[in-house]
């Protein structure tokens, strides 16, 4: 029978080999593909962690050799924790190596990075994309303590290079922003007001009769999760305008979450779609976007208006087959403070709708003629349409004018899904090219 020490040495060697193989796997991919700077920084972190673990594990075995037999369990726990850290990290490596620049909507990632950097305190932030096997977008916080300026976003691998659905990454980045605001030593007045509103709502909902710490924690987490979700929606909306709502609807429809019977239902993680769209509509109105898109002959627009118009009294939160109306009532008192925080964090987004109003038709005209909207870009930034205008004009075109473009082309039928798919992809490519050219122009102007 193996002694405790022999067994531990065996386990340590297995971990050592695992770490070594991950380290090599990452290095091989770095040689084969091109990655964004953010992903490269993450890989550097992996190499560092690998070196740290290899040293720690060797250290454990060295100490073990000098320690009495009864100390073995203590070292075993240390080893288990190292292994579990790498088990977690292991799940990040493949999605990160898959996300090389050919598999990503790079101009969108670049734009999102620049938008994040406009927020005070986040000037050095970079976005690491992970391509996930799940058909869902996630914000991700690796437990291996990566450099804090790296924001991790999981994108479904099937959506990697596409454009429209990937606009929802802005929602996920909202999670990063919210967490960063919470971590900040110098929290803004708007953030502390939101926290105070949450505490008030919770205290009003429960008196001292709710005693068990875990139950109190759970109840708070529900309010917190809903708050974050609405914050993330509004954060994305401020940066992307109605294109975000359209993309969200498309994504939720794709995964079957836009059913009429679930529109008013809250779950422990998400507020009801009706409330989410209602707050988005409020924001679109306040920011001047709604007036620009409300008459679009699109089902997305009528859907937003219909679902957002659902009565608050229809909202319900059900948990373990019990309806808990106090939660939704409490949450509604918090919502205005979320709007205030989003406005506070994103003052640079205030006038985006004005540019769209002025430039939309000419951008749409480019698409109608199969031309990249880069032709509208001019050296002086002020006379160029913004990236957000290009995105929104593209989405509006996608929702309403695609058949018009296809009708002009011989042999293309708008009800033929293969033809339609081809022209959607072209539209996405034109939009991305326009954004990329805009970024080049801006970068050139900045260096002059």
């Amino acid at each position: 029978m193996q002694s405790a020490q022999d067994s531990l040495i065996h386990e340590a060697t297995s971990l050592f080999r695992l770490v070594e193989s991950i380290d090599i796997f990452v290095a091989e991919h770095e040689n084969l593909f091109s990655y964004t700077e953010a992903t490269q920084a993450f890989f550097l972190h992996i190499h560092d962690q690998a070196a740290v673990t290899r040293n720690s594990v060797s250290d454990i075995i060295e100490k073990l050799a000098q320690a009495p037999e009864h100390a073995a369990p203590r070292y075993r726990r240390e080893l288990i924790i190292h292994k579990d850290r790498w088990r977690t990290l292991h799940t990040y490596i493949k999605p990160a190596t898959d996300a090389h620049t050919l598999n990503l909507p790079s101009p969108l990632i670049q734009m999102a990075t620049e938008d994040l950097r406009r927020i005070p305190g986040m000037e050095g932030t970079a976005v690491v994309v992970l391509l996930t096997p799940e058909l869902m977008y996630y914000h991700n916080t690796p437990q291996s303590r990566p450099p804090s300026q790296l924001a991790f976003v999981e994108v479904p691998y099937s959506q990697g290079p596409s454009f429209f659905t990937n606009l929802t990454i802005y929602h996920e980045l909202g999670h990063y922003v919210y967490d960063s605001l919470a971590d900040s030593y110098n929290q803004s007045t708007a953030f502390t007001a939101l926290v105070a509103a949450m505490s008030r709502a919770f205290d009003d909902m429960f008196d001292e009769s709710l005693k068990t710490p875990s139950t109190r924690t759970w109840a708070k987490r529900v309010l917190d999760a809903w708050t974050k979700e609405v914050f993330c929606d509004l954060f994305a909306l401020r940066h992307l305008g109605p294109a975000f709502s359209f993309a969200l609807i498309d994504m939720l429809s794709l995964i079957g979450l836009m059913e009429e019977e679930t529109e008013v239902k809250f779950d422990a993680e998400h507020p009801a779609t009706a409330l989410r769209l209602r707050e988005q509509l409020t924001r679109l109105r306040d920011d001047g976007w709604w007036a620009e898109v409300q008459d679009l002959p699109s089902e997305h627009v009528s859907l937003i208006a219909r679902v957002a118009g659902k009565s608050e009294s229809d909202y319900f939160f059900e948990f373990a087959e019990k309806r808990l109306p106090a939660f939704t009532e409490a949450f509604l008192t918090i919502v205005p403070f979320i709007h205030a925080l989003v406005s506070d964090v994103t003052p640079h987004c205030k006038s985006a709708a004005e540019d769209f109003s002025r430039r939309r038709l000419e951008i749409e005209d480019c698409f109608l003629h199969g031309v990249v909207p880069s032709k509208l870009l001019a050296e002086g930034e002020a006379s160029s349409p913004t990236q957000v205008s290009m995105i929104n004009a593209a989405y509006c075109f996608y929702l309403t004018l695609l058949p018009k473009l296809m009708d002009k082309l011989e042999g293309q039928e708008s009800y033929n899904l293969i033809h339609r798919k081809k022209w959607i992809e072209k539209l996405e490519a034109w939009t991305m090219k326009g954004i990329e050219d805009h970024q080049l122009l801006t970068a050139t102007a900045a260096t002059q």
């Binding site: 726990r77 924790i81 977690t88 799940e134 991700n140 502390t192 926290v195 875990s214 309806r323 808990l324």
Partner: protein
């Protein structure tokens, strides 16, 4: 990140927190280090936040141990009554008050190590087992909301 993985990492963070307490206390018991007062202070704060009933703070990240639902639930699973959580806190406070160096302090440190070894074992087990976290006490919740 899918919810189950997010949940599991909370258990790992708890296990790491326990480790950060167990090791320095072991070193103290073995006479190779002084009493880890900074670690004990951190532990006292974490346990106090649980006994006060509000380990979860709005507007603060729950990366710290004993802040998330999964972590608090694990603690309640291991130390089944509020008295047990209180006794862990009392031991911590007593150790800090003693300041170390006596036989009594060593025996208290050993008791605390045992408590945290049990907590860590459960945290690691929960990390290992991809099961759903036990839901909260819906009866207590409804009673507090007067909707039962």
């Amino acid at each position: 990140m899918p919810t189950d993985l997010q949940t599991r990492t909370q258990y790992l963070a708890l296990a790491e927190f326990c480790q950060s307490i167990i090791w320095p206390l072991c070193d103290y018991v073995e006479g190779t280090a002084s009493l880890p007062t900074a670690t004990l202070e951190k532990m006292r704060a974490a346990l106090q936040s649980v006994t006060s009933g509000d380990p979860y703070r709005f507007g603060q990240r729950t990366a710290a141990a004993l802040g998330s639902y999964e972590q608090v639930r694990t603690l309640e699973e291991v130390w089944k009554t509020p008295e047990q959580i209180n006794s862990a806190l009392e031991l911590t406070v007593a150790l800090l008050d003693d300041g170390g160096g006596t036989a009594d302090t060593t025996s208290k440190a050993k008791m605390l190590i045992d408590l945290f070894l049990k907590l860590q074992a459960t945290a690691l087990w929960n990390f290992e087992q991809p099961k759903r976290t036990t839901p909260p006490d819906i009866w207590e919740l409804c009673k507090a909301l007067k909707t039962a």
